[in-house]
């Protein structure tokens, strides 16, 4: 068992501050430990309560977070979780999300330091989503739910305080995005006609998991009229079209967030997720002439040399390179809407199961509590 009092004695692990909300916030802002909003003072007792849901040594890094490559120890993550307003039972999910986004294919360095406006989006699957009351329905990407708001915020604070994503220093985003405050939702598995995202990505249904995506904000897809799979998917494919997206230059994995009503229409025609992906891939392309002359010559003909190097201006430029690159999750409440979420491009989604230290899938966050 780790002793917090001992850990806090090591240099830089803690500091004294007046026991006053405003004084703590003044100190945090002054040191740049902030997303701009007030934080909950990370006192030793609050941090210790957070760490009650951690089954590994509190000072052993679970990952190193780019671009500063700061060590994400449970202790540091817990301080950020407290600051963000997390309940202690949220902590295992925060650890899993941080581990996932520090895996090589995610390219956290690129996502943190780029001039693009992406942020890590976390989709939660499995029984833990319900246990923690993570919103997957109406306004799932919006405010109003403690778990969505504070776990997402804890991730951002860790990205800033441990990873060094400080605007104009480690985060070079030209203008950022509101999703950089918090960006987390659960899949609405009950309303989905298909297998959930984590099952599609190789995990058992009873596992709980996070999938991280280096994503833009959702772009709405309104279709109140279509009553067939082809109709809904045609509208979705049409919304994927964009000459200014990063995705067109990479083997990117955009996320299609299908509203439950749209998903039902698509599935009722007998379409599987794989069928829908094939349709979307096949129909989401622009003729090359829709791109600027400079982008054609300097980017498209170079990046996709084999296919577009000598092609005419009517050649199709695919928004997604392969059907299987498209991610689909069913999220949201009632309404004839879906959303397209484009990405940073130079990033791959990473799915990570909530596992205990012995490698077993966690059935509940209570499994992480120290015995």
């Amino acid at each position: 068992m780790t002793n917090l009092a001992e850990l806090l004695k090591s240099p830089g692990a803690s500091l004294e501050c007046e026991d006053d909300f405003d004084a703590v916030n003044e100190l945090a802002r002054g040191r740049g430990w902030s997303d701009g909003l007030p934080v909950v003072p990370p006192t030793a007792s609050r941090v210790e309560r957070m760490l009650a849901y951690c089954d590994r040594p509190w000072n052993e890094p679970v990952a190193r977070m780019a671009p500063r490559y700061g060590e994400a120890t449970p202790l540091r993550l817990a301080a950020n979780a407290v600051m963000a307003g997390c309940r202690p039972e949220y902590f295992p999910l925060l650890v899993a999300a941080v581990e996932a986004m520090c895996e090589e294919p995610f390219n956290l360095y690129g996502i943190q330091a780029t001039t693009h406006l992406c942020a890590p989006l976390v989709i939660v699957n499995g029984p833990v989503a319900k246990e923690l009351d993570i919103n997957s329905g109406h306004n799932a990407f919006g405010p109003g739910w403690q778990a969505n708001a504070t776990i997402g915020r804890a991730i951002r604070l860790a990205l800033v305080n441990i990873g060094g994503a400080i605007p104009a220093l480690g985060d070079m985003s030209t203008f950022g995005a509101p999703s950089k405050y918090s960006y987390l939702a659960a899949e609405n598995e009950e309303a989905s006609p298909w297998e959930p995202l984590h099952v599609e990505r190789g995990l058992p249904r009873e596992a709980s998991a996070v999938t991280v995506i280096g994503a833009e904000c959702p772009h709405n897809v309104n279709d109140h009229e279509s009553i067939t799979a082809e109709g809904i998917l045609t509208t979705l494919a049409g919304t994927l079209l964009a000459a200014g997206t990063n995705d067109v230059y990479y083997h990117a994995q955009p996320l299609i967030v299908m509203g439950p009503e749209h998903a039902k229409t698509v599935a009722s025609g007998g379409m599987s997720k794989a069928d829908a992906k094939r349709f979307l891939h096949e129909h989401a392309h622009l003729p090359m002439r829709r791109f600027s002359k400079e982008n054609i010559e300097r980017r498209l003909r170079v990046t996709w040399k084999e296919r577009l190097g000598a092609a005419g201006l009517d050649a199709p430029v695919y928004m997604v390179q392969r059907p299987e690159d498209i991610l689909i999750a069913v999220i949201g409440g009632a309404g004839k809407h879906s959303a397209v979420i484009r990405t940073f491009g130079a990033t791959q989604a990473v799915t990570r199961a909530l596992k205990l230290r012995d490698g077993k899938y966690a059935k509940s966050v209570a499994d992480f509590r120290k015995k």
């Binding site: 671009p67 500063r68 490559y69 060094g164 104009a168 220093l169 480690g170």
Partner: protein
């Protein structure tokens, strides 16, 4: 680049002004705070080929100076 620098090769990173602080921080993170950063005018994207040559014109004398210093 930092690994090459550690092996004693002539090494530098070319940066435009808004990225200077990021470059310095990264050099420090990777253990070579003395890594030379060659400054060129911003931006580097959205330039005509002539303008790209102009940027190279800014960088080349700095590269030559670096090589001379290394040889000395």
């Amino acid at each position: 680049m930092c690994e090459l620098r550690k092996r004693g090769l002539v090494t530098a990173v070319i940066v435009s002004e808004p990225f200077l602080k990021l470059g310095k921080t990264q050099a420090r993170v990777f253990g070579v705070p003395e890594l030379p950063l060659l400054l060129i005018p911003h931006p580097l994207g959205g330039l005509s080929l002539e303008q790209v040559e102009g940027r190279a014109g800014h960088a080349i004398p700095q590269v030559l100076q670096l090589i001379k210093e290394h040889a000395a």
